[in-house]
Each structure stands twice: as structure tokens, then as C-alpha cells.
Amino acid sequence: MSDVSRDTMLLTTPFHSRVEAMCNINDWGNWMGFTTPNAYFDVELEYFAIRSTTGVFDLSPMNKYRVTGTDAQRYLDRLITRDVSKIGVNRVGYAIWCDDNGQVMDDGTIFHLGEQDYRICSYQRADDWLAWNTLGFDVTIENESDTVAGLAVQGPTSCTVLTLLGCTDLNQLKPFGIAHYTFEGLPMMVSRTGFTGDLGYEVWVPPESAEALWDQLFELGRDYLIKPIGSHALELARIEAGFLQANVDFMPAEEVVRVGRTRSPFELGLGWLVDFNKPLFNGRSALLREQEKGSRYRFAMLDVQGNKPAEHSFILKGKKQVGTVTSAAWCPTAKANIAYAQIEMPHGAVGDELVAEIYYQRELHWTRLLAPCKVIDAPIFKSPKRWQTPAPPH
């Protein structure tokens, strides 16, 4: 971060000058040590930009690690729980990685950039764990967090805007595909990935391209109602779309100090990412044991009655407390009151009817609400645009 001001404790991203200029309400947050907007002008309008036009989110603070060397694929296969060989070149795979106790350390995306050439994009800093994992492998890990800037460009008009920017035939790119372009003479990588559950892309450029990229995107996207979005709007979208968030829906295993506060993939509803056909990966033995013995918790997506978000609620079965809510929001497009909860086994199976104990206050007056809720098997919001190729015209 040589070109970044050190005047404040928090760091700024390569887009900061532009982000700051557009952050009308001056509402900032700390995202993993970077100063980033909670909102630019209005959370709900920003949210609707994602769902109706195009929202732009600065995701530069994400940690990026380049994995190269003759053992790169074998290395990743031991690191993450899914089969890396199934992620083709110029494809992206969602992945989780566990410690030896089978507890989730983080989730992220694996970009397959070329022969034995990958990039891990993770929420948490992972330098230490990735370095330990190199023992016994011919592999080099390079932290590219500061040399790759990223923007999420998400929403129904995103393909059109990016095509105007010069991303030829972007509409042909399949979900989780990667396309390479140049922007002002420098490489620009576009992946059809995102955290919103909608048609959307992530654009990756060197930091020196950042400001020009932002300027041109907003210039070209004006007619397509492009808007910057802050982390609160993204939070709404991701809960609606069914995505988990590290440090919110689970504690990264390495950061936990109290016994029993970590979660396994099965306990987070991520069992589908665990491939026991692989003979070896971190956490495999422990996860096999868990499969035999049964999990402690179940991840449940709840459809809660009423319109009061069940934030931090206890979940009851009859009078017994059986779980707690990790994420909750009233989702505007799904028009549903959604909550993610950690439910003690054996409760929380799909269809299970539970009660959310919601506390909310209006003008210092607290109200306790016992809202019936039901475990659903998938997010109510499902945008067909997310999966269509060619990307649908708006």
C-alpha cells in the first residue's frame, strides 16, 4: 500500500478518491481495516439499484492470494474441501476451508487463471495459514491484495454497462466464468461472480487503473442508472440471496477463543462443498467423524412472520430455546422477512415450525414479539438472470 495515505489508522482503497466524492451522506465503516462506505446516499435506493439497474461496490479490501507452482492444484485440493480439479481454467469456484478439526476458517472464491495458476479471494487475512499449508508442496503464495483492485458491478443492466466499457461478448460469459480484457492498455479481468444473487460481475484491475475505471463506468452507465452501493445495501442483497458472511454467520475458526464457537461445513449448510471422494483435505478425518456422530447444529433459513427483522433473536421450539439468529432482514424484493439461524440438533429441519423471540424498540419503548417462523429449504428470492447465458437484455 505504498501509494496510500497513512494519515489515518484505517487504509483506503485505490478507488477512494472517487468513493469519497460520491459518498454523499458521509457514512463510513471499517471493513477489515479499510475505510469503506456503509451507504452512499440511501440504503434502500442503493439496494434497488442492485435489483433493478446496476450497483457498484468497491471490494478491493478482499484478500487476494496468487497460488502458482507445479503443485498449485494439489495444494488447493488439500486446502479446501471441494474438488479443485472440477474448476476449469477461466472458471471460478466457491469454496470453504477448514482447520484439522473440520471447523470452517473462511469461505471464498478460487479463480483458476491458468495451468497451475490460481487466485484465492478470501474475506479473512490468510497469509499464515496459507504459508503453513505450503509445507511439502512446490508452490508459491503471493499476497496480491494490494496489487489487485476490484469492483462488483451487479444488477440487470450490468452486462450492458460493462459491454459499453469494452467487454466484448460479455453476455456470452457463463456464471462463474472469467473473461480477460484490457482497459487503457492494462489487463482487466471480469468474472461473472457476486454476492447479490443477481446478474452481476466482478471487475479486477491493477490499482493504477482504478480511478479511470470508476470514472468511465459511471459515465457510460449513467443512462443505465448505475449507482454506487455501500455495505448495508449489499448486506440486504446477500441475505435475500442466501449467502453467508464470515464473522457474522460463522466465526472463522482461527479467531475463536471460546470452546464450541466454531462451526463445521455441515453446521453451516455447506455440506455440498465437502467432497469425501478426495482422499485428503484439511479437516477430512474430523468431518468424517462428524458425519458418523452427527452435527451439533443445523443452519436454518427462516421465513419469519411479520415485518420486524429477527435480528439477534433467540429461536424457540415451544418454550425451549433451540437457537439464535445470525443474520436477519426484511427483504424488499422477496417481500419476506428472512433470518439465518444456528439451530441445535435435531431441530431446524426444513418445514420445522419455530418461534423467533424478537425485541425491537420505538422511541425507547421495547417490545417483545414472538413471531412464528418456518424453516425453508432455499432463498425465496431467486433471480433467473443470475444463471442465464447469454446474459438477458434488460
Binding site: 503443485d71 488439500r78 484439522d100 478439526n101 509445507l135 484439511n282 478425518s285
Partner: protein
């Protein structure tokens, strides 16, 4: 169908003990070692024409008596010498003698003599208590299991029976260092450093290092289990290896010596056999390694063949050593000032004061040679003349503190160190240099190369509380099983740890049989 029920990597004493017990129970076992003779650290070698010496361990004091009986080692040729007293040589020739619970010489006063008897009594009560733990698999504290509960109950009862005073002492001293404990009990400097030497032998620790009380109790526990006193093995330590090999072979163990193992092989995620240097593959229901944990996991299995957390634990496992061996071929019995000829067959030690020992440790930490050393000397040819040509003798000494590899390198460092050691010896045996016909200096890196022990540490990993009992060698690979299915440990890197003791091998065999994996 596998070639064997179990393949054991290494033919050290623990490997042969394990093989003996397993084959006695009717299992088929192959023991493979790259060295030409059985015994591992229990080895005898001709270091100069006609002169043979126990080239690694030289004293037998901790070998569990139940193993001697169960495997009929006496019937297989094991002969022990007479129990030795310890004579700590003093520059003024008023030497300190420790024999049983009595001490004399070096100006030891009656208060120290009484304190020594109390100290020995206390140590024996601790050793007795620890022997309960040493003869069982180490109990896990978290998982509730009846075998472990029984061990813990016995331990709890033993702690109770110690009485309030001893229990309090044990809790207080077990985590601290021998330096403080010696100063608490004794005033005589020679006495303190002589006892302290037993706490640091074979380790990378000085008297002031934490864990030295534990390593002292470890040794005392071994002595309690052996009940032989400190002895030499007639024929050299290799004769112990030979008797163990002979016992194991009689029970049906197949020994393949002079053949190195190049890899532990896996099928899917299970260890299913070994690959020899020749490329030959041998399959077995389980593989039991008596090699040290680092060699086993890093070199033979490979870090890419285990979960990353296991590799990390192996990397953190401490197995450095400051121990060297000096071997001298002598044309006649040397003369030590103030020692009668019949005293030369005893265990002779030379130590500076405890502060001096600590100073001797310092250069080693910085990869330098020290100008001060401790010696633990055996002249085995007095009791066992067959080790040298008639009228000639062998002197073998365990020497501290010597770096694994000094910055100046061993090519330059060895002659320098040898001169240094000889000049220190000559303070006590002025004309010994004239008798030397040949000499050999074995440094930690030599021990690593010759005996396959990482860091040259003959305990197969530092003897410290964090690497002991239910944490030996490291969490997740305890109770002789490892984090890798099908791979077991039976060497000194497993509970109860190092020294010529045999219990890791015996306990491993018992645990494997109990689990019914064969």
C-alpha cells in the same frame, strides 16, 4: 491380503520390544532398519581397529524390568554389569561419591547428607507415582473412556497417597528448573551440579531451563522401573540390541537389516505399507514407526500426505540436542588423580558448577563452541575387557554442550573441540593424552546421520511437559495412534519418551493389540 500384520520402521530397542510383544501375541511382524545391526541407539561399534564402544547410549539404568522378563532377555544373552556408583571428579581431587542414598567427599556436610536422603526419598515417591503413568497408555483428559479413567483414578489415588507435603512439592517443582530445586535442598556446589547433570543429559537444556525437573523425574522414574541401578551391558550396548532381536526372532519376528525405508505409503487416505530404498513395496495392515516423529512424518510420510495442522505440529516439535560422544582408544588404564584403580570402573562425571553449566550452554545457542563442558565417563573395558585388545582400554564420555553444527563448520570445529575436551580431561587425568591411540568425536549432527535421529536428540524430541504424556509427541497423535490412519508410533517420540527404557515399544504393542487393529 497384506504381506505382514505390521511393519515396524527401525530396529531400535523400542521397535524390537514392540515386535517381541506383537509376535508373542501371534501377529506377523517385519522389522526394517537401514543399519546393519539391531538395537538402534543400543549399539556397539568398532571405532578403531580392535576397540569397540557403545557408540550412542552407554549406561543402562532405565530399562523396564517387566520387559526383561516378558521377552526373556536374560535367556537371550543379556548380561548386565555391576551397579555403578557415581563419582563426581573435583579439581582438588576430593571427589564426591554418590552411592545409593549416601554421599561422601567434596566437603559435603551432614546437613547436605541428610538433605540428600530426604531428596532421594521424595524423588522416589514421585517416580513411583509416575511409573503408574509410564506403564499405561497416556490418559486423555477430555474424552471419557474407561481405560483412561482407570489410569487417572490410579494417578489420583497415587497423588493422594503422596501426602500433603509431597503433593504440594510435586505441584510446585514439576514445572520449574533443577537449578532452583537444587539450591533449595543443598548447599554443596559439586553435589548440586552432579544431580543437575542427570536433569540435562541428552537434552538441549541447561540447569536453569524450565522442564529440567520433569526430565530429572523422567530419569528417576526409569530407574524405579528398572531397579538395576546404573549399569553397563556386557558386550557393549549392542548386546542389548542383539538380545532383543534374538527374543523377537524367537517369537517369529522377521528382521530385515541393512535395508532403509524410503517412504511410508498410503492407499487413499490410509497408511498401508512401506517402500524400501530398492523400490520394493511391502504391505501391512498397519505401519508402526520407531523413528522420531519428524523423520516419520516429514521425511517418510511427507507433509503433503497429512492435514496441514499435523504438518504444523511436526514443524513445531522440538528435537534439538546439545549432546556429543567422545571415544578414546587407550594403550593402558588412565590415571585419574585421587582415584583408586578400582574406582575407574564406576560412573565418573565432571561438571562445572551449575552456573558454569549454564555458561557452557550459552555458546551452543549461538552455534559456537564452548570452552567448558560436562563429562559423563565410562571405562567399560575394566568390567568387559573384550571390548579392547588385551591390556588396552576404551573411554567413552557423554559430553555437553555441543552445537548441532557450529558456524565454523565441523571440519574445522571437530579438531578444535577435541583439543578442548582433552585439555579439560587432563585437569583430572593429567597424562591421559599420552595413552590415546585413537579418538573419535560424535557430534549431534553425526548422531542424526548415523542413528536417524532428528537434531541428534536421543530422546526423539525434547523431554518437556508440553511434549510429554498425553501430548507426546503432539496432540492429535497420541496413545501410539497418529492423525494418519494406519500409522502408529512405538519409538521414544511416543509416551513415555526417551532413554533406553523400552516402554514406548511395550505400551504401543499393548495398545495396538487392545484396539484389535491386527
Amino acid at each position: 491380503m497384506t504381506d505382514y500384520d505390521a511393519v515396524i520402521i527401525g530396529a531400535g530397542h523400542n521397535a524390537l520390544v514392540c515386535a517381541g510383544y506383537l509376535t508373542k501375541a501371534g501377529k506377523t511382524v517385519l522389522v526394517v532398519d537401514g543399519r546393519p545391526d539391531p538395537g538402534g541407539c543400543a549399539s556397539t561399534r568398532e571405532f578403531s581397529p580392535g576397540f569397540r564402544v557403545s557408540d550412542c547410549a552407554q549406561w543402562l539404568s532405565q530399562f523396564d524390568q517387566s520387559i526383561v522378563k516378558d521377552l526373556n532377555l536374560i535367556g537371550n544373552g543379556l548380561r548386565l554389569g555391576q551397579p555403578k556408583s557415581t563419582i563426581s571428579l573435583q579439581p582438588d581431587s576430593d571427589h564426591l561419591t554418590l552411592e545409593g542414598d549416601t554421599i561422601s567427599g567434596a566437603g559435603v556436610d551432614s546437613a547436605d547428607q541428610a538433605a540428600y536422603q530426604d531428596f532421594k526419598k521424595m524423588v522416589r515417591s514421585f517416580a513411583k507415582l509416575m511409573s503408574t503413568l509410564y506403564r499405561s497408555r497416556p490418559p486423555k483428559l477430555v474424552e471419557q473412556n474407561w481405560t483412561d479413567r482407570m489410569t487417572l483414578m490410579k494417578l489420583g489415588l497415587g497423588l493422594k497417597l503422596l501426602g500433603r507435603e509431597h503433593l504440594r512439592d510435586l505441584m510446585r517443582i514439576v514445572m520449574i528448573n533443577i537449578y532452583d530445586v537444587m539450591n533449595e535442598h543443598f548447599s554443596n556446589s559439586a553435589l548440586k551440579s552432579t544431580i543437575a547433570l542427570d536433569a540435562v543429559t541428552g537434552t538441549n537444556m541447561g540447569p536453569r531451563s524450565p522442564n529440567t525437573v520433569y526430565s530429572y523425574l523422567h530419569r528417576a522414574t526409569g530407574e524405579h522401573l528398572a531397579q538395576t541401578g546404573t549399569t553397563q551391558v556386557i558386550g557393549g550396548m549392542g548386546a542389548l540390541g542383539q538380545s532383543l532381536a534374538s527374543a523377537a526372532e524367537k517369537f517369529g519376528t522377521t528382521l530385515q537389516l541393512g535395508t532403509s525405508v524410503s517412504a511410508i505409503t498410503k492407499t487413499d487416505n490410509r497408511v498401508t505399507g512401506i517402500t524400501l530404498d530398492s523400490g520394493e513395496k511391502i504391505s501391512a495392515k498397519i505401519v508402526i514407526s520407531s523413528a522420531d516423529p519428524t523423520t516419520t512424518f516429514r521425511d517418510l510420510l511427507g507433509y503433503d500426505q497429512m492435514e496441514a495442522g499435523v504438518a504444523k505440529r511436526v514443524e513445531h516439535y522440538r528435537s534439538r540436542s546439545g549432546t556429543a560422544k567422545l571415544h578414546l582408544a587407550l594403550s593402558a588404564l588412565p590415571d585419574f588423580t585421587g582415584l583408586a584403580a578400582d574406582q575407574l570402573s564406576q560412573r565418573l562425571v565432571i561438571t562445572p558448577s551449575m552456573d558454569g553449566m549454564e555458561q557452557a550452554l550459552n555458546p551452543m545457542k549461538y552455534r559456537e563452541l564452548s570452552t567448558l563442558h560436562t563429562f559423563d565417563i565410562s571405562i567399560p573395558t575394566i568390567e568387559d575387557p573384550g571390548l579392547a585388545p588385551s591390556g588396552h582400554h576404551v573411554l567413552s564420555a557423554i559430553v555437553h554442550y555441543v552445537p548441532f553444527e557450529p558456524d565454523i563448520g565441523w571440519e574445522k570445529g571437530k579438531p578444535q573441540l577435541l583439543n578442548q575436551l582433552m585439555s579439560e580431561l587432563e585437569v583430572y587425568a593429567p597424562s591421559i593424552g599420552d595413552l590415546v591411540m585413537a579418538s573419535e568425536l560424535i557430534v549431534p549432527s553425526d548422531l542424526e546421520a548415523s542413528h536417524g535421529m532428528t537434531g541428534g536428540n536421543w530422546h526423539h524430541g525434547e523431554l518437556s511437559i508440553d511434549q510429554a504424556l498425553m501430548m507426546r509427541p503432539f496432540p492429535g497423535s497420541t496413545q501410539y495412534a497418529t492423525a494418519c490412519e494406519g500409522l502408529y508410533l512405538c519409538g521414544a517420540g511416543a509416551h513415555p519418551g526417551g532413554g533406553l527404557q523400552g516402554l514406548p515399544g511395550r505400551n504401543a504393542a499393548k495398545e495396538i493389540l487392545k484396539r484389535g487393529v491386527l
